[in-house]
C-alpha cells in the first residue's frame, strides 16, 4: 500500500521532505520510522491525515503521516 510520510524541522536533515513508501497491510508507523532510520526518541508529534496518532497506529492505503520533533513557540 502507498503511504506518504512528511518530515519536518531537523528530521529533514539527510532525508527528503516527503517520502513515499510502499508498505504492507497491518504495518504501523513504527515500521515507517524504522525504514526512514529515525530514532523514535527524536519524535514528539505524530499525525495521520492531520489527526493525532502514535507509533503503534496501524496505517491504511493512502495515509499521510506527519512526523515532528519537539517544536514549540507562540
Amino acid at each position: 500500500m502507498d503511504i506518504k510520510v512528511k518530515l519536518f524541522a531537523y528530521l529533514r536533515e539527510g532525508r527528503d521532505k516527503v517520502v513515499l513508501l510502499d508498505m504492507n497491510e497491518g504495518d504501523t508507523i513504527k515500521k515507517a520510522v524504522k525504514i526512514l532510520n529515525i530514532d523514535p526518541k527524536e519524535i514528539s508529534i505524530l499525525l495521520i491525515n492531520g489527526r493525532d496518532a502514535n507509533i503503534d497506529s496501524i496505517l491504511v492505503q493512502g495515509d499521510t503521516v506527519s512526523i515532528f520533533p519537539p517544536v514549540g513557540g507562540g
Binding site: 512528511k6 519536518f8 524541522a9 531537523y10 529533514r12 521532505k17 514528539s44 508529534i45 499525525l47 491525515n49 492531520g50 489527526r51 493525532d52 506527519s66 515532528f68 520533533p69 519537539p70 517544536v71 514549540g72 513557540g73 507562540g74
Partner: protein, 595 residues
C-alpha cells in the same frame, strides 16, 4: 528589598515633575510585580471608565522581581494601561534588553501621568531623570529614533519608543524597544502617543539584590539544564524560532486562512520556519540572559533586521493569502519601523480583504493597491499607510473591529473584545477557544497557551477536540501565565519549567515562601483583579465570546472539518471553576482572594 528596587518613579508630563515613591510592599507581596502589581496600581489610580487616549489614563511601565536578576529569561517588562482598542486593562510585555537596563537604574516602575503640551522623551541615568524636548524625534521611524537617542546618550543606553503609528493614535500601535522587540498588543503605543511621549531612554548601573545567592546559583544551574534538555527550548526554538509552528499548525488543519474562512493553507511550506531558516536566516538572537535564543535575524534583498515570529507570518501570510516569505519579512520590518502590532495589522488587512471580496470596500475607496487576498504589494503598501495613517490607511489603523463595524459588518472582524485573535483556529482546539473568549485583554494566545497541551503535547498531550477538562486547563494556564508575567520572565520558559520551579526562583531571589500552588494562587488573584477592572470599565461577561464564524460556521475541509468552538458547553463550566456568575467574580470569591 530583595528582587525589587523598592522605588517607583512618578512623572507628570503636564507639570513636568518627577517624584520618587516607595513601592507598596504589601501589594508587591500579593501581586508580585509586572502585570499583577501594574494592574493593581492602575485600578487604584484611574477610573476604569476614562477615555483611554485622554490625559486621565496612565501609562505604567513596570518590571518584575526577577527582571534584571541573574536568572534565565529574566528580561521582561510590562506596559500596563487602559487599552484604546478593547477598553479593557492592557498589559503588553516585551523582552530584549530594555527591561533589565531600566531595572538597573534603581526603579521598579515608572508611572506616566497626564499629557505634555509638546513632544518629549524621558531620559533616566540611575538617579538622574530628565524630561527632554522630543520635537526633533516626532515623526521619525523607530530605527531613526533609536539611533538618534543612542548618539545623544551613548551606545549603552537602551531605547523604548513609539513610531509614527503611536503618534497618530492608531488603536493597534505598539511600543518598541531595542529596535525590534515589541510590547505589541492592545494599542499601548497610542496611549504613549496621546501623552506626547516619544521615548524612554535608560542607562543603569545597579544590581538586583538577591536574598540567597548560593541557593539561586543552584536553582539557576538546574533550570538552565532543564532548558537545554527540553526538546522545545533546547533544540526546536533555537534552530527555527517560533516560525517552526507554521507546518505543524497547518498539518493539523487549524492554520487560519483568508480571515478564518478556511483553516489550511496549500502554500504553508513556502512561509514555514524551515524555509525562513534555509533561505533568510543570518543568525539567531537572544534577549537578556536567555539561553533559548528564539529570535531571528534575517536578510532580504539588501536589508537585515529582526525576523518575523510565527504569529506575524500567519497574520500577513495565510490569513492574507500571501505565500511570499520575503513580503512577510518586509511587512514585519515596516511594523517595527512604524510601531505597529504585527498580529493586529495583518489581521486587520485580512478583514479588509474579506470586506473587499464581499463588496463592502469598493476599489475607488482605496487609491492604492487592491486589497485582494494574495496581493503581496498590498500588504507592504497598506502596512506603511497604516503606520503613517494616510489615506485609507487611517481607517485601517483603527483595527479590524472598528473597520468592519464602519461597513455594517462587525462579524467579519475575527476578534474578541475588539483585539484580533491570532494564528490558531479555535474551532478545533476547544481549550484554546474558551481561553480566547475569556481572556481579560481579548483575543490573545499568550494569556493561556493551550496550544502547548492541545497540539504540541507539552506537558502532556490532550485531545484537541475533547471538551472534558478543558475549562480547568484554561483556568490553570491563565493563572500560571499571570504569575510568570508578573515575575518578569519569558513565557517560553514554561516549556521547561514547572510552577514549583518558578516558586524556587522567586523564593531564592526575594526570600518569599511560595510553592508552585501558591504562585498559581497569586496568578488567580491577578486574573480576578484584571476582571474587576474590566467590569468597572463596562466590559462584562457578555464580551466573553467569539466571532459568530467560530461559533456557527463549521470548518469546511481538512483534518479539522466539521468543527466549531463549543463555547456554550465550556463557558458555564469555566465560570463555575472561577467562582464567577455571568463573568463577574462573586463577593465570596473576591473576599477569598483578598480583593
Amino acid at each position: 528589598m530583595n528582587g525589587y528596587n523598592g522605588k517607583i518613579l512618578r512623572v507628570n508630563l503636564r507639570e513636568k515633575t518627577v517624584k520618587v515613591e516607595d513601592i507598596n510592599t504589601h501589594d508587591a507581596e500579593r501581586f508580585i510585580g509586572g502585570r499583577g502589581l501594574g494592574s493593581k496600581i492602575l485600578l487604584d489610580e484611574i477610573d476604569p471608565k476614562v477615555d483611554a487616549l485622554s490625559p486621565d489614563n496612565k501609562l505604567i511601565v513596570i518590571t518584575g522581581p526577577l527582571t534584571g536578576a541573574p536568572v534565565p529569561t529574566g528580561g521582561r517588562y510590562m506596559v500596563v494601561t487602559k487599552s484604546p482598542l478593547s477598553g479593557t486593562v492592557a498589559s503588553s510585555n516585551s523582552g530584549g534588553y530594555w527591561g533589565a537596563e531600566f531595572k538597573a537604574t534603581g526603579y521598579d516602575a515608572i508611572i506616566i501621568e497626564d499629557k505634555s503640551e509638546k513632544p518629549v522623551y524621558i531620559n533616566i541615568e540611575d538617579d538622574k531623570v530628565e524630561i527632554r524636548d522630543g520635537e526633533h524625534l516626532w515623526g521619525k521611524l523607530v530605527s531613526e529614533t533609536t539611533k538618534a537617542l543612542k548618539t545623544a546618550h551613548g551606545e549603552k543606553a537602551k531605547v523604548l519608543t513609539i513610531g509614527p503609528a503611536g503618534e497618530k493614535l492608531s488603536n493597534i500601535a505598539a511600543i518598541i524597544n531595542d529596535e525590534d522587540r515589541a510590547a505589541g498588543r492592545s494599542g499601548v503605543g497610542a496611549v504613549m502617543g496621546s501623552k506626547n511621549l516619544k521615548a524612554i531612554v535608560v542607562k543603569g548601573s545597579k544590581k538586583t539584590n538577591v536574598y540567597d545567592e548560593e541557593k539561586l546559583k543552584e536553582v539557576v544551574s538546574k533550570l538552565n539544564k532543564q532548558i537545554k534538555e527540553d526538546g522545545v527550548t533546547g533544540t526546536g526554538l533555537p534552530a527555527y524560532g517560533t516560525a517552526i509552528l507554521v507546518n505543524i499548525i497547518n498539518e493539523n488543519g487549524v492554520f487560519p486562512t483568508h480571515n478564518f474562512q478556511t483553516s489550511q493553507f496549500d502554500k504553508a511550506e513556502e512561509i514555514s520556519g524551515e524555509t525562513l531558516a534555509n533561505d533568510h536566516l543570518i543568525k539567531r538572537t537572544a534577549c537578556y540572559r536567555c539561553p533559548i535564543g528564539c529570535g531571528r535575524y534575517v536578510r532580504i534583498h539588501d536589508s537585515e533586521g529582526g525576523g518575523p515570529e510565527y504569529e506575524t507570518i500567519w497574520a500577513f501570510g495565510s490569513n492574507c493569502g500571501i505565500s511570499d516569505i520575503k513580503a512577510i519579512i518586509d511587512a514585519n520590518f515596516w511594523c517595527n519601523e512604524y510601531g505597529l502590532d504585527t498580529i493586529s495589522t495583518g489581521a486587520t488587512l485580512a478583514a479588509a480583504m474579506e470586506l473587499r471580496e464581499k463588496g463592502y470596500i469598493k476599489e475607488e475607496d482605496l487609491a492604492g493597491p487592491d486589497l485582494k487576498f494574495g496581493n503581496t504589494e498590498a500588504i507592504i503598501y497598506w502596512t506603511q499607510k497604516m503606520g503613517s495613517r494616510e489615506g485609507f490607511g487611517h481607517k485601517l489603523g483603527m483595527g479590524s473591529y472598528r473597520l468592519c463595524e464602519s461597513y455594517g459588518a462587525p462579524e467579519l472582524s475575527m476578534s474578541v473584545k475588539k483585539l484580533e485573535i491570532p494564528a490558531y483556529d479555535p474551532r478545533a482546539i476547544q481549550g484554546q477557544g474558551v481561553q480566547y473568549a475569556t481572556s481579560n485583554r481579548g483575543g490573545c494566545h499568550v494569556r493561556g497557551y493551550l496550544i502547548s497541551p492541545e497540539i504540541l503535547g507539552s506537558p502532556v498531550k490532550l485531545d484537541r477536540f475533547a471538551l472534558e477538562g478543558k475549562a480547568q486547563w484554561a483556568k490553570t494556564f491563565q493563572d500560571l501565565t499571570a504569575a510568570i508575567d508578573s515575575l518578569g520572565l519569558c513565557l517560553f520558559s514554561s516549556f521547561a519549567f514547572s510552577a514549583d520551579d518558578y516558586a524556587e526562583l522567586y523564593n531564592a531571589v526575594t526570600g518569599s515562601q511560595h510553592t508552585g500552588e501558591s504562585l498559581i494562587g497569586a496568578g488567580e488573584r491577578i486574573y480576578n483583579l484584571e476582571r474587576v477592572f474590566n467590569l468597572k470599565a463596562g466590559i462584562d461577561g457578555s464580551y466573553d465570546t467569539l466571532p459568530k464564524r467560530l461559533l456557527e460556521e463549521e470548518i469546511a475541509e481538512g483534518p479539522s472539518k466539521g468543527n466549531v468552538t463549543k463555547l456554550s458547553v465550556l463557558l458555564p463550566e469555566y465560570y463555575e471553576l472561577r467562582g464567577w456568575v455571568d463573568g463577574a467574580p462573586t463577593e465570596e470569591k473576591l473576599e477569598s482572594l483578598g480583593l
